[in-house]
Structure formats: structure tokens, C-alpha cells
């Protein structure tokens, strides 16, 4: 291994790398005309419904051949990031609130302001007549619109009333405060030695957001550059769940750590009578239980303000490198407004984003899906305005929050240390 040789190798290799990186700098290529790309994430029901929509669009627009791409949520982002880096992102893409700011703030998405509007306005390709303002504005960042809402979503508590009755503990209703709930959950845990009060939500940043809002602030400052709440609120939250775990109000750490999908939810296994999640998830847990799950608003701090909100977390966005944004906009309009499209989708993407769309659905009365739709309809007008779009770096904080919650539950970190760590990391991540 003479130094001469290695140096020469390095030189050659560097040249190759230069070639590679200069390739990356090439201008946008985009999709071929008449063949716009459309990509989404989800499970098999989503894939089937969406492929049907692609066929439907093709039959209504014979000159356009939509090229579909799809994968499961976790895999989707690896591919999308790679494609975006290679300037070949699909024209229309499903975008999650968790990543919206990551993509939008870095110029990967088109500002849709020019396309959004009333049907009556000319040149507005995507109609948002029917959407409630909170839903229509969900993907708004600094005055620009980076996505069109696919659904309306809210936090909810799922209650297995059959189990509650069988345990002989008092019934619960929506007047519950976190304090009541804690006492009740411990009572549940004491009733039988294979049951705990509630699924552990210590690591749930999403439910915690509602909690924060009940303490007078949003989770993030308006410009998304920092956390807006007091560290004490977080310590309170984590201490609350620590206390529940210690008193059978929530399962021990190892039980919660085994959760890996809806099939392993303690609620699904009958280990707890209460679980929490986004309202449409009730439909994914319900198949594992015989009796119907009841959907309640989560407990409140009892301060009189509700922290709940209804907004949208999944959008249709257009890549900033799209070579045919107009066609892309037409596709999005079709996906959210076409009657046939709405009927085909049903609620596979969540509760539809508008009253009109909900009205077009023909769900079985009493089905979990119908209950989810009812819940959103019931609370939409009474909850306070939704928080702004989650800021850049949200996904990183989401992962960190869960991890820190887990550290506390396993006794690997103290509540205040973990809270300090979260605030330190947030200061680094948020800009």
C-alpha cells in the first residue's frame, strides 16, 4: 500500500464523486406530459381504494395516464426523501402533518394558494367550498398552503363499556377530569389482577398537545421556533402517568413496550378498558373486541378550557419540481371533491374533510366508522380553534418524546431530567 497509489486512487474516486454530485445538480426532469405521478401511503384497503380512484380518473380523463406509487407509511418516507433528493418526486403526493413542515420549509412543495378557491372563481382548480376553515387551513404555513386536507381528525378516548361493567367499577362519561380519571383508573386496576385502568399515554406527544392547550398555551410558539409551554406542564404530565403505572392505573412499562400495532393494543387484548388515539383508529381496534367501543372526549384538566381540536393531518401536496402542476391540481380536486371518488374512498383515509363528503357516505349505522364520523361531527363546533401546522422537526420530537416517556417508565430516567432533555433537544431541533 504505497502512499502514491492511494493518493492516485483517491483522486480518481473524487472525480467520480464530482461527477455524481454534478449529476444531482441537473435541472428538474419531472414526469412525462400526460403521465403525472401520484403516490400515497397506507395499508391494503388504502391501496385498493386509491387504485380504483386512479382507474376512475383515467376513465374521466382518457388523455391522462396517472402513474400510481404506494407503500406503507414507514417505507413511504424513505422513498419520498430519496426521490425528492433526486428531483423526481411524484407530482401529487400524500403528505403527513408530521413531515409537512420538513418538506414545505425546504422548498419541496408547491404553494397551492393559486389553485385553491371557490368553485365559482375562475382559474381555481381545487375547490375548497365545503371545508370548515380549521380543516382547509391545516396545511397553512406562513400564509402559504402546502396541502389540501384529506380528512378531519381529533383526539379521542375509546372505552370498552363491557369490560367496565364486568369489572363492577363506576361508569365513565365526558365530564371526567384527569384527576377523576386517575382515581378511576387505579380503581379499575384494583378490581382484577389482569386488568389495568388505561393504556399508558405518557409517551403520546399528540394527546399531550391537548393537555398543553388546557394550560393556556399552544405547544409551539407561533413561528414554530420554540416550545411555548412551561417545563412544569410536561413534568406534571409525566409524573401523572408515572403515578398511574405505580398504582395499576396504567400497565407496567414492559406491557406498554410490547405495543406494536393495533393488534397489540392493551385495549384490543382486553387488558385495559380505555385507550386513546386519533378518532378513526377506533375502526382498527374494534375488530379485536366483541362489544362496541364507545368514543368519548379525553379527560380535561378541569380548567374550563378544552384542549381538543379538529384538524387535518393528511394532505394532498404537489411537488415543487412537478412539470405539470395544473394537471396535479386537477387530480387533487378530483380526489377530494368528486362524488364517485368520495364514495369509493369511504373512510379509508379517515373521516372525510367536509360535511358534504360525509353526507355522501353510506356507512352502516352503529359501525365503528359511523361512530367516528359522528364524534367528529359532534365536537367540531364546540372545540377551540386548531393549532397551526406542526413545525419543522416535529417528527424528530415525536420520536424523542416517546423514547423519553419510555425511559421514565422503565426507570432509566427521572421525570425532571427527561423533561429537561426534551426542552434541550427541542431548542436544537426547532428553528
Amino acid at each position: 500500500m504505497t502512499p502514491d497509489l492511494t493518493r492516485r486512487q483517491l483522486l480518481g474516486v473524487t472525480l467520480a464523486a464530482l461527477a455524481a454530485s454534478s449529476l444531482a445538480a441537473c435541472g428538474p426532469k419531472g414526469s412525462p406530459p400526460g403521465k403525472p405521478g401520484l403516490s400515497w401511503y397506507g395499508g391494503d384497503p388504502v391501496h385498493e381504494a386509491m387504485q380504483e380512484l386512479v382507474r376512475l380518473y383515467g376513465s374521466k380523463h382518457p388523455d391522462v395516464d396517472v402513474v400510481a406509487q404506494f407503500s406503507a407509511f414507514d417505507d413511504y418516507w424513505d422513498r419520498l426523501a430519496t426521490q425528492t433528493a433526486g428531483r423526481s418526486a411524484p407530482d401529487v403526493m400524500r403528505m403527513s402533518m408530521s413531515y409537512l413542515a420538513d418538506y414545505a420549509d425546504r422548498g419541496a412543495l408547491t404553494d397551492l394558494s393559486a389553485y385553491l378557491g371557490k368553485t365559482s372563481e375562475t382559474g381555481k382548480l381545487i375547490s375548497i367550498d365545503d371545508m370548515a376553515p380549521d380543516i382547509a387551513d391545516s396545511a397553512r404555513i406562513d400564509g402559504a398552503y402546502y396541502g389540501v386536507s384529506q380528512s378531519s381528525i381529533a383526539n379521542a378516548a375509546f372505552v370498552n363499556r363491557d369490560l367496565v361493567a364486568a369489572l363492577g367499577v363506576p361508569d365513565v362519561d365526558e365530564s371526567w377530569t384527569w384527576a377523576d380519571f386517575g382515581t378511576w383508573a387505579k380503581e379499575v386496576g384494583a378490581a382484577r389482577d389482569d386488568v389495568y385502568g388505561s393504556m399508558d399515554q405518557g409517551g403520546s406527544l399528540q394527546l399531550f398537545e391537548s393537555y398543553v392547550r388546557e394550560h393556556g398555551t399552544e405547544m409551539f410558539t407561533a413561528d414554530g421556533s420554540n416550545l411555548a409551554f412551561d417545563q412544569g406542564v410536561l413534568e406534571e404530565w409525566w409524573a401523572y402517568w408515572d403515578d398511574l403505572r405505580a398504582n395499576r392505573g396504567a400497565p407496567p412499562a414492559a406491557v406498554s413496550a410490547e405495543v406494536a400495532g393495533f393488534d397489540t393494543w392493551p385495549l384490543a387484548k382486553g387488558t385495559t378498558p380505555v385507550g386513546f388515539g386519533w378518532v378513526q383508529q377506533v375502526a382498527f381496534v374494534q375488530p379485536f373486541l366483541d362489544g362496541p367501543l364507545d368514543i368519548l372526549t379525553p379527560p380535561t384538566a378541569g380548567t374550563g378550557t378544552s384542549g381538543l381540536f379538529v384538524k387535518c393531518l393528511d394532505f394532498w401536496s404537489i411537488a415543487s419540481t412537478s412539470s405539470q402542476p395544473d394537471e396535479a391540481a386537477r387530480i387533487i380536486d378530483f380526489l377530494v371533491n368528486d362524488d364517485d371518488a368520495i364514495r369509493t374512498l369511504g373512510i379509508v383515509l379517515g373521516v372525510p374533510p367536509s360535511e358534504r363528503a360525509i353526507g355522501l357516505l353510506d356507512l352502516d349505522a352503529g359501525s365503528a366508522e359511523q361512530r367516528a364520523v359522528d364524534y367528529v361531527g359532534r365536537i367540531a363546533d364546540v372545540v377551540p380553534p386548531a393549532p397551526p401546522a406542526w413545525p419543522l422537526g416535529y417528527n424528530e420530537l415525536l420520536t424523542l418524546f416517546t423514547k423519553l416517556g419510555q425511559d421514565i417508565s422503565f426507570g432509566e430516567a427521572g421525570v425532571s431530567d427527561a423533561a429537561t432533555e426534551f426542552f434541550e433537544q427541542a431548542a436544537r431541533v426547532l428553528r
Binding site: 474516486v13 467520480a16 454530485s21 418538506y103 410490547e258 406494536a260 417528527n395 425511559d407
Partner: protein, 316 residues
């Protein structure tokens, strides 16, 4: 072996005879070598080297994948020293490498020897023992592992029959989760087993016959004939399994649902690297991590190669 050694010496002496003729032959040999290497060299230049050096450059930048990289210098490398999760992931990875590689190779070699010859139904057994490796990183393994090593999984049910009732929820306990991944790795010993088998198959039967005539016992034959002859193959497996184990990703990713949990106990270095690069859009930092890993792995490989002079016997 001594006869072979003599031949080797003769050959070396021959090689130094007549330098004029030699250089002509040497030139021809070198030309042939490069010709044989054409596909590999083309692959290196066109496919492998560019992205590798690109990642080395990216490791010196702030690169979020969506915007052009911005040059930072060594900041990413310095940041690693303060990153507790990274240092933890390095620790997890080292434990995994040093526990699972020896166990897996011992299992693979032992079973390859048993399944080599002298039994009926060998083909069947070999296939059965390879089955787990076919599953590899399939998503089904995730469910399977939770069913086996969960709180109410099969392992604990078995333990309960034996009277052990307070066994942990193996996959969900930070103290034992990494252990289940080691078991998973050992369980999928099929690849090194097959390589060992192929190596054993190259050992000439005539040598065994000669030794049997000499009255050597089974262990003696294994230690004196088999083992030395397959040292190149053992060496190969050691080197490659260490390289692979340092880059272990799929199984931890699948079993932990991508989190490296519980509580980072299965957060392998590459898993953290992946989360950093793709989840947090810090590809610059992730690339720096990758190059640190490369240096570590290269160091281990170099040590392996150096140590191989003392225990690996080549026939050439």
C-alpha cells in the same frame, strides 16, 4: 503438508529464475489480471466509488436531503462526541457483535460438521436448519418474535410449565430485548453454515482415509485435518460476519418497529444512523456516522487480516 511446502518453495525459487523471461511473463499476467478485473473496476468507478465519496463529502456538510448540502467542516464528527444516544447505540452494537458473532459461528460450524456426512436424511436436515434463514428480515418475523418472546409468549408459557412464573417480557424489557435479537441472529445461522459445509466438502476424503489408517480418532482427525484445511473458510466467515454484525439493521428495525426500543436498548448504530438520516433529515450527520462506522469496521477487519497469518493456512 510438508510435501506441499516443498513444492511451494520450489515454485518460489523457480519464479526468481531468469528475470528477463519473468518480466515478460509478469507483464502478461498483469494484463490478464486487469482484464479479469474489468467488470469489478467498472463497477467500482461507475457505481460504488461515486456514492461512497459523495457520502464522505456529505459527512462534512449540513445536508437535509431536500436542499443542497452546506459545508460545515468537521462539525458533524465533533457533535458525535456529545451525542449520548449515539454513544449508547455504539455500545449496543459492540455488545451485539461480540456476543452474537461467536455464538452464531460456533453454532454454524458445529452443525455443519454434524450435517456434513455420515448420517441418513442429511439433505432434509440441512434444509430444515436453513429454513429460519430463509425468513430472514421478513415482516412476519416481527410478529413471530413477539409471539415467542412476549410477556405471554411461547417461551414464557414453557417456563411457566417449569415453574418459572416471573419471567420478563423478553422483547419489551430493556434488559433482555437485545438478547432476543442475539437469539434471532444465532437462529439464522444458515448462511455461515452453508459456507462451512461447502468448505468441508473441499476437504479431500483421501486425507481422512490416510488418517484413519494411521489410527487417528475422530477428534484428532477433526483437529488435525479438517480444522486446518477449512481455516480460510472460517476466516472468511469471521471477517464477513463481523462486518455484517456491525451493520446489523433489518432485524432490530423489524422487531422494534423501527424504534430501536424499548428505551433504545436495541438501537443499533445503523438504526440510529437511518433514523437520523431519513427520519430527521440530517443526512450529513448520518453520513459522518457511517464513516465512523466504516473506520471501526475497517480496523477490525485489518486486525483480522493481520491475525490471520497465525492461524489461517492457505494451500497456495
Amino acid at each position: 503438508m510438508s510435501a506441499l511446502g516443498e513444492l511451494r518453495t520450489l515454485r518460489r525459487q523457480g519464479a526468481h529464475k531468469g528475470s528477463q523471461a519473468l518480466s515478460e511473463a509478469a507483464r502478461k499476467e498483469e494484463r490478464a489480471a486487469y482484464l479479469f478485473l474489468v467488470p469489478w473496476l467498472a463497477g467500482l468507478v461507475l457505481i460504488t466509488a461515486g456514492p461512497m465519496v459523495a457520502s464522505l463529502y456529505v459527512s462534512l456538510t449540513d445536508y437535509n436531503l431536500l436542499q443542497p448540502p452546506e459545508f460545515l467542516g468537521l462539525a458533524n464528527y465533533l457533535q458525535m462526541l456529545d451525542d449520548e444516544r449515539l454513544l449508547n447505540s455504539l455500545g449496543v452494537t459492540f455488545v451485539y457483535v461480540f456476543v452474537s458473532v461467536p455464538l452464531q459461528l460456533a453454532a454454524a460450524l458445529g452443525i455443519a460438521v454434524v450435517l456434513n456426512r455420515g448420517m441418513r436424511g442429511l439433505a432434509f436436515y440441512r434444509s430444515v436448519y436453513y429454513l429460519p434463514s430463509l425468513l430472514g428480515g421478513s415482516v412476519a418475523v416481527a410478529v413471530l418474535w413477539r409471539r415467542l418472546f412476549g410477556a405471554d409468549g411461547l417461551v414464557n408459557q414453557g417456563l411457566a410449565l417449569l415453574g418459572v412464573h416471573d419471567a420478563p417480557a423478553w422483547v419489551a424489557d430493556p434488559d433482555t430485548a437485545l438478547g432476543t435479537l442475539v437469539v434471532l441472529n444465532v437462529w439464522t445461522f444458515g448462511a455461515p453454515m452453508v459456507i462451512f459445509l461447502a468448505g468441508l466438502r473441499q476437504v479431500p476424503v483421501s486425507l481422512y482415509e490416510a488418517a484413519a489408517v494411521d489410527g487417528a480418532g475422530r477428534w484428532a482427525r477433526f483437529a488435525r485435518i479438517t480444522l486446518p484445511l477449512i481455516t480460510p473458510i472460517i476466516f472468511f466467515n469471521v471477517v464477513l460476519q463481523i462486518i455484517h454484525a456491525f451493520q446489523a439493521f433489518t432485524q432490530a428495525f423489524i422487531v422494534s418497529g423501527g424504534t430501536g426500543g424499548p428505551s433504545d436498548s436495541t438501537m443499533f448504530f445503523t438504526l440510529y444512523l437511518y433514523q437520523t438520516g431519513f427520519g430527521n433529515f440530517q443526512m450529513g450527520y448520518a453520513s459522518a456516522m457511517a464513516w465512523v462506522l466504516l473506520v471501526i469496521v475497517a480496523a477490525f477487519t485489518a486486525i483480522n487480516f493481520w491475525a490471520s497469518r497465525f492461524w489461517v493456512f492457505y494451500d497456495d
